[in-house]
Symmetry: C2
Subunit: 239 residues, 2 copies
């Protein structure tokens, strides 16, 4: 007998993704072949931004010998430069994300190309969710994840940049704590925590772009959008 638990596994067997690939079909096929068994209602699929961007044709050519060709892209993709020091540029993107280099990444991308963020990662997540429902008959949540740095703490962690069918932020304000007192403020960003849990099984160098997270609280499975996470500049103390 086992108690309640969360399980997380990598979805292997997904090859190189190319522009125009129907990512939802590829993910559904790979999940069907997984040794951990079929997807179930309430599972959450975490899909890395890189494969979403590739499938959606968000690759742009850069001059591999000219670092400035990449830097000008960073500025093109930014709505605000938040900080700049040396080669490091922290920007705010059109989506409202604050991250290094407007989220543009060169790793796991062919030399001479850069991957821009998806235009609308919620839509990307919804499309995968819809295809998985149609193909496999299960209601899953989908999170598009990316790897961001943060102030004050070293090391990158994976966070959500798009969500479908799973809460981004869960509001526990007003829930009594374990001593029966009403809690002050506890909005938990479960989508970022799920993205981080998924990163632990994907690994940065192993090229596994999808993971399954099973065992999330059923109340988290609902309509949502990344707007739950993006903090408007007026609320923010650090830009």
């Amino acid at each position: 007998m086992t108690g309640p638990r969360l399980t997380v596994w990598p979805v292997t067997g997904i090859g190189e993704i190319r522009p125009g690939d129907q990512l939802g079909d590829i993910v559904a096929d790979a999940c069907r072949a997984e040794p951990n068994g079929p997807l179930l209602d309430g599972d959450v699929l975490v899909v890395t931004q890189k494969v979403v961007s590739k499938a959606e044709g968000r690759m742009v050519e850069i001059d591999p010998d000219d670092p400035l060709s990449h830097k000008s892209l960073v500025e093109d993709e930014a709505v605000r430069i938040v900080r700049r020091r040396g080669d490091l540029i922290i920007t705010e993107t059109s989506h409202g994300f604050v991250c290094a280099n407007s989220g543009i990444d060169l790793s796991n991308v062919e030399r001479g190309y850069a991957a821009l963020l998806p235009i609308d990662s919620d839509r990307s997540a919804r499309r995968i969710r819809d295809i998985v429902r149609a193909r496999l008959g299960v209601e899953v949540g989908v999170i598009v994840s990316d790897t961001f740095g943060r102030p004050w703490r070293r090391g990158l962690t994976d966070v959500a940049i798009g969500v479908a069918g799973v809460a981004a932020v869960v509001d526990l304000r007003g829930t009594p704590d374990s001593l029966g007192r009403t809690m002050q403020v506890t909005e938990v960003c479960v989508a970022d925590e799920i993205a981080s849990a998924a990163e632990l099984v994907m690994g940065k160098s192993s090229g596994v772009p999808v993971a399954v997270v099973r065992g999330c609280d059923p109340s988290w499975m609902r309509d949502s959008s990344i707007g739950e996470i993006v903090r408007p500049p007026s609320e923010d103390l650090f830009r």
Copy 2:
């Protein structure tokens, strides 16, 4: 047959913790009684700051009717005020953490008391690890976790504030990516990701203060310190 996977479960049956309690013994006993089975070498125990602070007597009396008695504590515990707006104070603590209210928390704490952060959470984690080894004969990693906000993104996530026997940051710089290119910068903060994964099964209001994470990469099980995560002010763009 199942493939590789990470499993995470809450450790239940831990009652209210009081000053002077030997937390390592309590955690070891609770793990032994868990329906998910005995701990194994390489498991990571995530223990919330609140119970560590309680066991270590880091509770201080405050006037429950005077919000200023709490606010003066926040300033006492800070080495730097990073931002202030209305009731919200973002401080840097003596440990180097940048967080709201110097990490002082009133939820899940008896009325009239506040819980300060442990003086040295790495030491707290080591003590639990040593007791678990002595009592149960297993080599586990231990992470002391706390719930922090972050700039630019709504919702709190759990992060590591102390580590023992498990890496805080894993450095993948120089590791070839899946296309054989050498990756630029990928230092992953696995301790924060493990803390976040654990939060998903603990819940803020259910009073479960410990979780087990099984299936971490064996190479992460090593000596470590929270200093791997704390970014020195000279490297930081946001204070």
